[in-house]
Subunit: 316 residues, 2 copies
């Protein structure tokens, strides 16, 4: 008894242009810190949330719900429990996987404290229950990269099949978060239930090109493939200045740019940190000109996913 | 003057389950032989076709049309011409790229005899003119693998962007051709102009999985990804016994099975030649039981594409 883990729970970018609902990537250095402590009293408690006003009730908190999903699945009853503290750096609703970070962090740490009874795909399943609470949709495109790290493909949900995709070392993300609210419900509502076969073929050609470009580290091919003819044209309208920010990113040398998750954050991918910084300047200049507040991050790709940053052994 | 090339023009499988209109692969040992000869009289002539009753008129022959497309594009007028002989082993209408082989072979050989002024992608463009004649649709999903070899992805047509995909060494194809006619017009007519977003996402998840499995030589992942939820359910009905043949292939150990191109050939992919032979037996037993004639091939993947098999220098 008495162990605790301090972990880093990373932000993630879902969809990545052509890969709507299947692709995601994990960011380096952008994310929450969580402390998960094994305690003598049974069950799960969220003891503290710093940085955001989020519910402490376990059943209303994504980390709590994900943790309960894991514990309920265990084939034994524990005679101890867990306390969770969250230092929330990722703003909820920003479109870079805020709820996914909390859910992924909780299940990763509890699994570790239990001696790793579950593999990464099983952890994704539990974390998806947190996503269900957050958005009404148990999707995996943020929790998968948060847990696996790097680029991930959610090939299939039934059964859940998550593939780690090779990540070129020089790929750097720029993400800008305009301080406006886009409700997940709205971003779902603008989608159409059908698409033309022609557009679908274009999209899966680009998915094939992007995956190929990632494996062969062909930055030109990655750039040519970072296109979304299906979702971006519908959702872009919900994000003020989207077209201008994207254009500024491309003109500044980005390989591609698109909506991060369901927005409102806009991401760009570049080759190398220097380019990514130039792209950041170009993107933020658009929001500065019109007076929209923003956060901006320049981040490499985090190949590890959730990770332990401190593991003191406490004597209780 | 006086050079001639004897080449092997390979059969190809287009679509490959999830990769409708974008993926293709090149077969080893199944294909036509063509002899292309530089002659003093200008223009292109088809001098002989062995094995099939196909038009000798240049403008009505896919090899002729493709050759003319290349020659018309040259920035100089030649003071010589070309004669083409075709030994046609691939049956037209079989669904394994019969027209593509002739078109690809013609442009490959003429390009070689001219000192290779064009790259592979440009050759695909010329060969697509042959496909336009053959099917009314200048598609590249057979000519691309015929020219590049291995697995290819036609990411985009405008501009044409063809990607060579890594091909695992142990992958072996089985192709069965039931001797029935499926008109290309019919196989196009059953397609629907729209698809559900849900099915489209499933399909591009599988495209991503298949491409990833090819690069990592993960045969299980290749197997899980060889699924087509969009086109196969509509086209299968045009091919007698499709479901049974596919099921027999899978039960005999194939990684996956589907319609080759627009049919009627049915392909399966297996790990290793031994498995592919077992799969062949299982597939042919279905047609034997119902008395449908068939051709069957077991073939490795041809990484080279069209190739020179003999290059005598003739003295005229």
């Amino acid at each position: 008894m008495g162990e605790q883990l301090k972990i880093f729970a990373p932000a993630t970018i879902a969809n990545i242009s052509c890969g709507f609902d299947v692709l995601g990537l994990c960011l380096d250095g952008v994310g929450d810190e969580m402390t998960i402590r094994k305690v003598t009293s049974k069950g799960v408690r969220i003891t503290k949330i710093i940085g955001q006003d989020l519910p402490l009730e376990v059943e209303k908190n994504v980390a709590g719900v994900a943790a309960l999903a894991l514990l309920t699945n265990l084939d034994r009853e524990l005679d101890f429990g867990f306390e969770i503290e969250i230092k929330k750096n990722i703003k909820p609703g920003s479109g870079i996987g805020s709820s996914a970070a909390s859910a992924a962090g909780a299940v990763f740490a509890i699994n570790r404290l239990l001696g790793n009874p579950y593999d990464q795909t099983e952890l994704v399943k539990f974390a998806m229950q947190g996503e269900q609470l957050a958005s009404g949709n148990a999707h995996a495109d943020n929790v998968a990269p948060a847990i696996f790290g790097g680029f991930t493909l959610v090939r299939c949900y039934d059964p859940l099949d998550i593939i780690s995709i090779h990540t070129p070392k020089e790929l750097v993300a720029t993400v800008i978060h305009p301080q406006i609210e886009v409700k997940t419900a709205d971003s779902r509502a603008v989608l159409k239930p059908t698409v033309t076969l022609k557009d679908a073929i274009t999209q899966w050609g680009n998915v094939g090109g992007l995956i190929s470009g990632l494996y062969t580290e062909d930055y030109d091919l990655i750039s040519r493939s970072l296109k979304d003819v299906i979702v971006e044209p519908l959702r872009a309208i919900l994000i003020p200045g989207f077209d201008k920010v994207k254009q500024a990113a491309i003109e500044a040398g980005a390989l591609g740019s698109g909506i991060s998750g369901s927005g409102p954050s806009i991401f760009a991918l570049s080759k190398g940190k220097e380019n990514a910084n130039k792209v950041a300047k170009a993107m933020q200049s658009i929001y500065e000109n019109v007076g929209i507040d923003y956060d901006i991050h320049v981040a490499g790709i985090n190949a590890e996913g959730v990770k332990v940053i401190d593991q003191p052994i406490l004597e209780l």
